[in-house]
């Protein structure tokens, strides 16, 4: 992230985050936790799509893997919940690397197509293998946690993973990622090992999604079921990345807030009934944002900065 | 007498790169005018400015009517046929379909136009169903010319027609253009690397350099002046 805000800003944000739980009601804390969860997933997906330019509409699948990992480990082995998140991170990293391999031969819309189909097909798997994966009934973890726990876990993980991402992206790997995005042909010509970096990006983004998935399941009472990980989840993640734009921490926050909060807020849209207001408002908002601010929040910020300077 | 085509202080750019820095020229109806000059002088861009394929400013008037911000489709409908560099042939479509597209802006039957075209290019008639991409380079150039001709344009913009063509074909092409000009009064604005050939066919010429007109005159004047020939026209 080129526009890493100064240390002061970071500390300020951290301070606000620490203070929030004392200021908000429990319901709002759960909302803030949701934003944190999406922050992690979008941060990861941003590395893949924003930086290496590979479009994935299937990262909900990785969230599912992470979520189910947590639920199953907890149900069968009563594993410490934080440990399950680490395991989810590792498993999803490996799965992401594996998925990244065929993805090497695809790009652009083709990759979007395949990941879209993946996202729609994945919820079918637990239905088929219901003995281990609980079928449509789902899997229940052995321990549940309250909203404050999730809030703390989500934002702590966000902080850690954000620093990790920053370290990765400012170094050689980050430059390689950007080279892949801007021109694959040029990147290869200058010696960038395409397959390694493209696959690596997949693995990293999948790992992040896995952690987000774990938290996601914990946030729904520790209950993992196929209907939670439908195609709309993957769509929301991609939308979050697009809203975020490229190269700005604030952008990712904006994206996470958009995806995490807007559906909840629009439930109370007066004319359109509770359930469906959500989709109508969300869909319309997404389209409007893309038409008006195609570079996402980051682009908007950049434009405002230029205006301020002039 | 107002010229059929008039350019006044026309500027054009590709994104941030300005290519034309104020071109002024006039093409009288029924004449053949050549645009000459070294590579990168802006010859092709001048044609593109007329057909509306590039961002331009300044005044361009066709038959007295300013073209303003009209795009290529609209300009074509006014009777301007642009045969671009690289011919613009629809390789995936048949010869007949290419010709049919030439007359896209015409309503009703184009039979008489087709017959006229086949009288100039008799061999095309046999190749109607052939995929245009399988024609040779020279044949594609002729097809491009034929396609422009089906429109029965008032102004023909020809961009580097001799590029990549064998001398025999080039001679044939110029013969046909001169004939069209003589028989039908077709006005032609031609960009050509082969200055000698162009000036032989043209009535007048403009020499461009770095986006500006540096010389203008009748073809006799341009051909006669030795120093001009050597420094600008390369022979």
């Amino acid at each position: 992230m080129r526009n890493l805000p100064g240390l002061v800003t970071v500390l300020a944000v951290a301070g606000v985050l620490c203070a929030l739980p004392f200021l908000l009601s429990d319901y709002h804390v759960s909302l803030a936790a949701q934003v944190g969860i999406f922050f992690i997933a979008i941060l990861g997906l941003n590395i893949l799509t924003g930086y290496t330019g590979q479009i994935s509409i299937g990262h909900g699948a990785f969230m599912a893997i992470g979520g189910y990992t947590t639920a199953v480990l907890s149900r069968d082995h009563h594993t410490n919940l934080v440990l399950t998140m680490v395991v989810a991170f590792a498993i999803c990293f490996v799965v992401g690397l594996i998925v990244g391999l065929p993805a090497l031969r695809l790009s652009g819309v083709y990759l979007a197509l395949v990941t879209f189909a993946l996202a729609i097909s994945i919820p079918q798997i637990p239905l088929q293998y219901s003995k281990f994966l609980g079928g449509s009934g789902g899997v229940q973890s052995s321990r549940t946690v309250d909203n404050l726990w999730i809030y703390a876990a989500a934002w702590t993980a966000s902080a850690i993973l954000f620093v990790l991402a920053w370290l990765i992206l400012r170094g050689r790997i980050g430059r390689a990622f950007r080279a892949v995005r801007d021109s694959e042909i040029a990147a290869v010509a200058s010696g960038v090992e395409l397959p390694v970096y493209k696959t690596l990006a997949f693995g990293i983004s999948a790992a992040y999604a896995g952690v987000a998935g774990s938290l996601f399941v914990l946030a729904t009472n520790g209950f993992a079921q196929p209907s939670e990980f439908d195609v709309f989840l993957s769509l929301e993640l991609l939308i979050g990345v697009a809203i975020a734009g490229l190269g700005s921490l604030w952008g990712i926050l904006a994206g996470a807030a958009f995806v995490g909060l807007l559906p909840q807020i629009s439930t109370s849209v007066p004319v359109i009934g509770a359930e469906h207001g959500r989709d109508v408002v969300f869909g319309a908002a997404v389209i409007l944002v893309m038409l008006l601010v195609p570079d996402g929040f980051a682009g908007l910020l950049a434009r405002l900065r230029r205006l301020a300077r002039a | 007498m107002t010229a059929l085509l008039e350019l006044q202080d026309v500027e054009a750019r590709y994104g941030p790169v300005h290519v034309l820095h104020g071109i002024s020229l006039a093409v009288q109806e029924g004449s053949i005018v050549a645009v000459l000059g070294p590579n990168g002088a802006g010859k092709t861009t001048t044609l593109r400015a007329v057909s509306g394929t590039v961002r331009r400013s300044g005044r361009i008037a066709f038959d007295g009517q300013p073209l303003g911000r009209l795009g290529p489709a609209a300009v074509t409908r006014l009777g301007v046929a642009h045969v671009p560099e690289g011919r613009g042939t629809f390789a995936e479509l048949t010869v007949w379909e290419n010709l049919r597209l030439g007359a896209y802006t015409r309503r009703g039957s184009i039979q008489p136009e087709l017959e006229r075209v086949f009288s100039y290019f008799p061999w095309l008639s046999d190749r109607r169903r052939q995929e245009a991409g399988t024609l040779s380079g020279g044949e594609q150039q002729m097809l491009a010319l034929a396609r422009a001709f089906v429109l029965r344009p008032r102004l023909l913009l020809l961009d580097e027609p001799s590029l990549g063509l064998a001398p025999v074909l080039v001679a044939e092409l110029f013969r046909i253009v001169r004939q069209m000009n003589k028989d039908e009064g077709l006005t032609v604005l031609i960009v050509e690397q082969n200055a000698h050939l162009a000036l032989e066919a043209a009535h007048a010429g403009y020499v461009l350099e770095a986006g500006r007109v540096v010389l203008a005159g009748t073809s006799e004047e341009l051909q006669a002046d030795d120093s001009i020939r050597r420094s600008y026209l390369g022979y």
Binding site: G50, V109, E275, P294 | -
Partner: protein, 336 residues
């Protein structure tokens, strides 16, 4: 936003006509056709499954053709194509509720779909066409969500009953009961596909659309209004999608908002299998997928109907990895 390079854009690639594989493909198809014919003659069960497969395949073909049309014209994958088809099916439902006879509603819906497709292209797609691939993907995704919400809001998620225009009867062909429904589905889709084909092949408008799709710059130089052609392309695609939705509904017995979600995946698989820029490929691909799914589920016990979608996903993945240009596509050489 990052500009994502998409492999299908022709400007970076050279195109070679993939003549080599076409005879092979045709031979394979002929072999498959013979296999099916023999199987149908041998077993009534096989025949039944094949006819069912062809009928569902026809629906996939129609939607796949819509996807291909749009892709050829604008190089956009319209993720909302299925939802759009679902929406227009609900429009037909509403018209019938208001008293129109089925076929009146059918044709009225086609007209409305055309207009809708046109408007969508102008309002939503044209502004983002020249921007990144991601922008167009997101817009169609947003449209997906929006339409889903609107339909749920206006009509609700409960199942609706729509009368089948073909009735419940069946033809008896050598001991096999072939539902009127399946024949009807095949006939309607075949008719619409043929009409669209004729439009492209024989009319000046169709020629203009083809020219605009394949070489927009050259098309503009002959006076084709490329923008207009793209909009009409979207309109036609919406019509084909409407046909798919209207024909899908009777076989699913009830109308619900989830009508087209899985069909979209099959249509994607069909379009890719046939070649994203090949209309003929879309038709062949759709029928192939339809018949394959039907036969596989019928004869392979391990694969139940729940694995249909993953099966289609695998087909999609394998085709894209092995022969990305599909059965009928021209191979695009991408040097890296």
């Amino acid at each position: 936003m990052a500009t994502v390079e998409s492999s299908p854009r022709p400007s970076f690639r050279s195109r070679r006509t993939d003549v080599g594989s076409l005879p092979v493909v045709l031979v394979l198809l002929l072999g498959a056709a013979i296999f099916l014919l023999v199987g149908c003659l041998q077993s009534t069960n096989f025949a039944r499954l094949t006819v069912e497969g062809l009928a569902s395949g026809a629906v996939y073909s129609s939607l796949a053709l819509a996807l291909v049309l749009i892709y050829r014209a604008t190089h956009v994958i319209n993720f909302a194509q299925g939802e759009l088809a679902m929406l227009t099916t609900y429009v037909a439902y509403q018209l019938i509720q208001w008293g129109l006879p089925y076929w009146g509603a059918f044709f009225a819906t086609l007209a409305i779909s055309f207009a809708l497709g046109l408007v969508l292209e102008v309002a939503l797609i044209r502004p983002v066409l020249h921007r990144s691939v991601i922008a167009t993907v997101i817009v169609t995704v947003g449209l997906f969500i929006l339409i889903d919400g609107v339909v749920n809001w206006v009509w609700g998620a409960d199942l609706k009953f729509m009368p089948s225009p073909f009735g419940n009867g069946a033809f008896n062909l050598g001991g096999v009961a072939i539902l009127h429904l399946y024949v009807g589905m095949l006939a309607v889709v075949a008719a619409s596909v043929l009409l669209v084909w004729a439009l492209f092949r024989f009319t000046k408008l169709g020629l203009g659309m083809r020219a605009a799709a394949v070489r927009p710059a050259a098309a503009a130089l002959v006076g084709v209004r490329v923008d207009r052609m793209l909009a009409i392309g979207w309109g036609l695609a919406a019509v084909l999608g409407a046909v798919a939705g209207l024909m899908a509904e009777p076989s699913q017995l009830f109308l619900s908002p989830t009508l087209m979600q899985s069909i979209l995946v099959y249509a994607f698989a069909a379009a890719v299998l046939g070649g994203l820029e090949s209309p003929a490929g879309a038709v062949v691909g759709g029928l192939t997928i339809g018949v394959s799914i039907s036969l596989v589920i019928g004869y392979v016990p391990q694969i139940s109907s729940e694995l249909q979608l993953p099966f289609a996903f695998l087909v999609l993945l394998i085709v894209l990895l092995v022969k990305p240009s599909g059965l009928f596509g021209r191979r695009e050489v991408r040097r890296v």
